[in-house]
Amino acid sequence: MIGVRKGLNDKLISWKMAGGVKQSAADMIERGARNKMVVIGFTIIVFMVLTAVLAPVLPIADPTEQNLNEDELLQPPSSENWFGTDELGRDVFSRVLWGARVSLLVATLAVLVSMVIGIVLGLTAGYFGGKVDYFISGTIDLFWTFPPFLLALAFAAGLGAGLYNVILAISISYWAGFARLMRGQALSMRERQFVEASRALGAGHLRMMFVHVLPNCIAPLIVWASIGVADAITIESSLSFLGVGTKPPTPSWGWMLQSGMLYLDGASWVSTFPGIAMVFTILGFNLLGDGLRDVLDPRMKGLRR
């Protein structure tokens, strides 16, 4: 025990001597590269993004091309159709690849939009406090009350199916988390002396908010965004699964899961492969988010691994 405590102390001391809270970008990348979770998560994401981006130029079948010959429907995986074919004779492999495009696009855009809304509202609330905070926090809590998926479902149903409507629905249901996180960060950050100091040196509100408060709060936002993308993929797939997401024939993992469900008995590959791709991608983003939390949190520095 004593040995462990001593080792811990030494590490704490070396952390303090290394300068404590703030690290340079190069240092951060180096520590990210040493974190297994970050490396694995990042690799998975890069792989998925590459497939999504390269899907149109890869030598694969057209994902929407139907082949209604009796002997082409619901075929098991073979050298020709790696992941088999679905009930309309379409190549599942190609559809999974194209599905990554939709899922990643929707999830990334939705998280970006909710992040912007969340940052602006949360920063305003936390920075100004008082009545502004009261009003914005009330709105945040109102949205926060509903589980994001239910809210997204309600909005998606109201707006109708379609790529941009799904993005909008997810953004509306997801921004409150960012806003809350940002508000809390801003609240503690605005009391810091460097904000006061920049004010004493003549900075205005906008400059203090966006140049001094925001960059100091960015680490937890990055973590939240990474995990948020994973969440958004789940929400998007669930919406498509329920038929209020992207419209067919756009290949979407959720939609594929749903249509394959009917054939789970004899042709399980129709929904298994999109399911695996989904789990794989979500795992990637969750690993990255978790790993980044450790890397960006100075208290963890040198204490683990």
Binding site: F194, A197, L201
Partner: protein, 331 residues
């Protein structure tokens, strides 16, 4: 003795109050203070006596729920309390600058020193050219005697030592050649050897740049070293105001004498330090008389009833105490 110069900052009857649920806290109570050009004035007093609040009031940065409720602050003839928020922003950093107690927390941890210096310069002087900004920033770092300024520009605050950070802070504060520099306990967070370096630096810089300085501290040794004149504050009031030598030689206010005798002298053996008995009065329930009356050995009947006026007991030596307000009040 002192060259006749124009007043740079004239504060008259400045009152700053905080309106909290339990009542009204009078943080500054009719403060009169004049700072002349090219002069260093020390503001001394114990914690909570209103030293920092005087600085924040001058910059109009009194935190909520505080307000300046009365008085005037004239800076080069301009009434600061009447300026708009935008005009006031132009004053901060450019004409009146401030150095904070702990440079480690007053510098933004996510930006390089160069960025933070450049930010203030471009903000007030509308210089946006990167090379020009860097050149100017480097000159400022040279001015505060930082070795290898070019490399320090690229460093983050956490890479610098405490003394270096305070030097950077001073460089930032002086980068737009302000007429008045307010230093709020600039050496409290530093060890003694660095303290001396920083104080000497401040002294030199004020002399060479021709600006004035208001040095806030609770350390009498610090003011004695740097300041031309000292104002002693107690419970939000300035109780004595005199040139440094005069104040140390002839303290008139019982609080000032108390402070000076509480200050341990080098080479003197003492088992226990002299203290001023009692504690600071509650700023929410100040009696009408002198704020120091409960702790004063020389308190008289009048001290409880009337607040003493400020009188000039010697040329340039002002004191607010009934002992000196004239024969009619003492018995």
């Amino acid at each position: 003795m002192m060259p006749v110069t124009k007043p740079l900052l004239e504060i008259k009857g400045l009152t700053t109050q905080f309106f909290i649920q339990e009542g009204t806290v009078t943080a500054l109570d009719k403060v009169d203070l004049t700072i002349y050009e090219n002069e260093s004035v020390g503001i001394v007093g114990e914690t909570g006596c209103g030293k920092s609040m005087t600085a924040f009031s001058i910059l109009r940065l009194v935190p909520h729920p505080g307000k300046i409720t009365a008085g005037s602050i004239k800076f080069k003839g301009t009434e600061l309390t009447a300026l708009t928020a935008d005009q006031m922003r132009g004053v901060r950093g450019q004409r009146i600058s401030m150095i904070f107690q702990d440079a480690a927390t007053a510098l933004d941890p996510v930006f390089t020193v160069g960025y933070q210096l450049g930010e203030v310069i471009s903000l007030h002087q509308n210089i946006y050219d990167k090379a020009a900004l860097d050149k100017k920033s480097e000159d400022m770092l040279k001015l505060v005697k930082i070795a290898a300024p070019a490399s320090v520009l690229k460093q983050y605050p956490h890479e610098l030592s405490g003394g270096m950070k305070q030097r950077v802070m001073i460089a930032i504060a002086l980068s737009c050649s302000p007429s008045l520099l307010i230093a709020d306990e600039p050496t409290t967070a530093l060890d003694v050897t660095i303290q001396a370096q920083i104080l000497n630096l401040l002294k030199d810089l004020v002399r060479t740049t021709g600006s004035s300085m208001m040095l806030i501290t609770h350390n009498l040794g610090v003011v004695a070293e740097v300041c031309d004149r000292i104002c002693v504050m107690y419970a939000g009031r300035i109780v004595e105001d005199a040139e440094t030598f005069e104040l140390f030689a002839n303290p008139k206010h019982p609080y000032t004498s108390g402070l000076l005798s509480a200050f341990p002298k080098l080479g003197e053996r003492k088992e226990e330090l002299t203290v001023i008995r009692g504690t600071v009065p509650d700023l929410m329930r100040l009696a009408p008389g002198c704020a120091f009356v409960d702790r004063c050995d020389k308190a008289m009947a009048v001290c409880r009833k009337e607040r003493p006026n400020r009188v000039e007991v010697a040329p340039g030596h002002y004191v607010s105490c009934h002992l000196w307000t004239g024969g009619e009040t003492s018995d």
